[in-house]
């Protein structure tokens, strides 16, 4: 099952390596060799810069986890509130959608001006990016509950709270996981944006630094680590989903 995608990756890497080492291609496309490092160069940078990557990687990972966690708590709470109150939903749902139209690229530098180079602006950016998919999916999940189930629970002596905890919340869980998986992937992007807007550490900051120093292999290595974060977190959520919300949709 894992064989097919792995084979594609290996083939792509092999082709890339060949193209990078084979000067004919570089000459034909007029690319300076240092602009696109070969996979073997990137692998070497991953090893030789491992301490730097680990240190900055941990900074970025912390931002991602905290920002995502913030968005998760806020998003689920918000979705529950909007589900339980028609008034709130009518008032806030359009605003929720509108909030996504403001480009993060514009907000990020403003946040850095307000909060400085610390972790706060990054958390706000990541939380803002993650909030939307989590909330929308959780809300859709809550609304997907069969209204007959609610009626049934009422005749089975369930209070509103019990109906929510026993009926609606578990039904919405698979949807919430969908939203969380999307969110965790874009959280990585948010972290990088936040660091580009103003930081003195982290992988995003390292990328800018390496770019300025023409250390392209290190730059690509940082990207590889970031991708590993995204894939790893996504995979973790998928595993958790299978354990906790196995009943699907």
């Amino acid at each position: 099952m894992m064989l097919a995608p792995l084979a594609v990756i290996v083939l792509a890497l092999a082709a890339w390596e060949l193209a990078a080492r084979w000067e004919l291609v570089a000459d034909a496309l007029s690319i300076e060799p240092f602009l696109i490092p070969a996979p073997s160069d990137i692998a070497e940078a991953l090893w030789s810069d491992r301490e730097l990557l680990a240190e900055d990687g941990w900074v970025t990972l912390r931002e991602i986890l905290l920002g995502f966690g913030l968005a998760l708590v806020a998003g689920l709470t918000f979705a529950t509130a909007l589900h339980l109150s028609d008034t709130l939903r009518r008032a806030f749902y359009p605003l929720l959608v509108a909030s996504q139209t403001v480009p993060i690229i514009v907000i990020a530098p403003i946040l850095v001006v307000w909060f400085g180079f610390g972790i706060t602006p990054k958390l706000v950016i990541i939380a803002l990016i993650c909030f939307f998919p989590i909330t929308v999916n959780a809300l859709d999940g809550l609304r997907s509950v069969d209204p007959d189930l609610i009626k049934l629970m009422r005749t089975l002596d369930a209070s509103r709270l019990r109906t929510f905890m026993r009926g609606e919340a578990p039904s919405a869980l698979p949807y919430a996981f969908s939203g969380a998986k999307v969110a965790v992937a874009v959280a990585v992007i948010g972290a990088v944006f936040g660091e580009w807007s103003g930081a003195d550490s982290g992988l995003g900051h390292l990328m800018l630094q390496s770019s300025a120093q023409l250390e392209t292999a290190r730059l690509f290595a940082a990207v590889v680590v970031l991708s590993a974060f995204a894939i790893g977190l996504f995979g973790l959520l998928s595993l958790l989903e299978r354990r906790v919300a196995w009943w699907g949709r």
Binding site: K151, L152, M153, T155, L156, D157, R162, R166, P170, W246
Partner: protein, 273 residues
């Protein structure tokens, strides 16, 4: 995971009736009309059901049969008319006295069969083990032994409906409101389920309002049948049909008596269109 495991439809042992029926109907509606905005769905309906009686309600789609059940259960407030269940007239009290079984089984997929069936007990605050212990004898009694721990996805449609009915029974309410309980099943399973339900009600008698579009089902399971017209649902006929439920279905539905009643009911339905 073995899909669609089947348990034989066993004959339940009879037990003593829970509690004594007091005088007067278990549930009644008088001059009941209901509208959703401009749309009138029920018009001047008068019905009652005695404590251990099964009242079948048949009518074409959209005639307000499901709405009638929701109103009786107290899930909705009626536009016009009086509804009384066990003497209670306000919606909250009616809700406490009725158990509603919707068309689809709506078993919670993340709970086992026995946890689903004991839902009413859990909702009232009972601990899981105690609730399971209270519910287990019913599984035994109604031919579902061995399937207590099965997930709904592992059960066939007929078995899921049986678990759903046990859930309704375990709520311990005097009035059961069944909304086309076998509508989603194939004809053969439906026949088996009707016999199973007849046996279940013999063992655990309750006041039942059974809504169905299947005339034969109503005639077989009910003591009386009310026929509603097309929307807005009005009472077209009331038929007394008791006796069929006591016999095996194959015998009951082939008597001339049954055929006559079916003719009568179908004529009333046609008249109501």
């Amino acid at each position: 995971m073995h899909k669609s495991q089947e348990a034989p439809v066993a004959e339940p042992h009879s037990i003593s009736e829970p509690g004594t029926p007091n005088g007067g109907p278990a549930a009644s509606v008088r001059a009941l009309s209901h509208s959703f905005g401009e749309l009138r769905v029920l018009d001047g309906v008068d019905l009652h059901v005695a404590p251990h009686e099964v009242l079948g309600v048949v009518g074409p789609s959209g005639c307000g049969k499901s709405t009638l059940l929701e109103l009786v259960a107290g899930l909705r407030e009626q536009s016009v008319g009086d509804i009384s269940v066990g003497g209670a007239t306000c919606a909250e009290d009616r809700l406490a006295r009725c158990a509603y079984m919707p068309q689809r089984d709506l078993l919670l997929p993340w709970l086992s069969a026995i946890d689903n069936a004991s839902l009413a007990l859990r909702n009232r605050g009972e601990r899981r083990e105690a609730a399971r212990r209270a519910t287990a004898p019913l599984f035994e009694r109604f031919g579902l032994a061995g399937f207590e721990r099965a997930r709904p996805a592992e059960l066939s449609g007929g078995m899921r409906q049986r678990v759903a009915f046990l859930r309704t029974l375990m709520a311990g309410k005097p009035v059961l409101l069944l909304d086309e309980p076998f509508g989603g099943l194939d004809a053969i399973t439906r026949g088996e389920m009707q016999e199973w339900l007849a046996g279940a009600l013999a063992a655990e008698p309750r006041a039942v309002i059974l809504v169905t579009h299947d005339v034969e089902e109503a005639l077989y399971l009910s003591d009386r049948v009310a026929v509603l017209s097309a929307r807005p649902g009005q009472l077209v006929a009331k038929l007394a049909v008791s006796g069929a439920r006591a016999r095996p279905r194959a015998d009951a539905i082939t008597t001339p008596e049954f055929a006559r009643r079916r003719q009568h009911a179908l004529a009333a339905l046609k008249e109501g269109r």
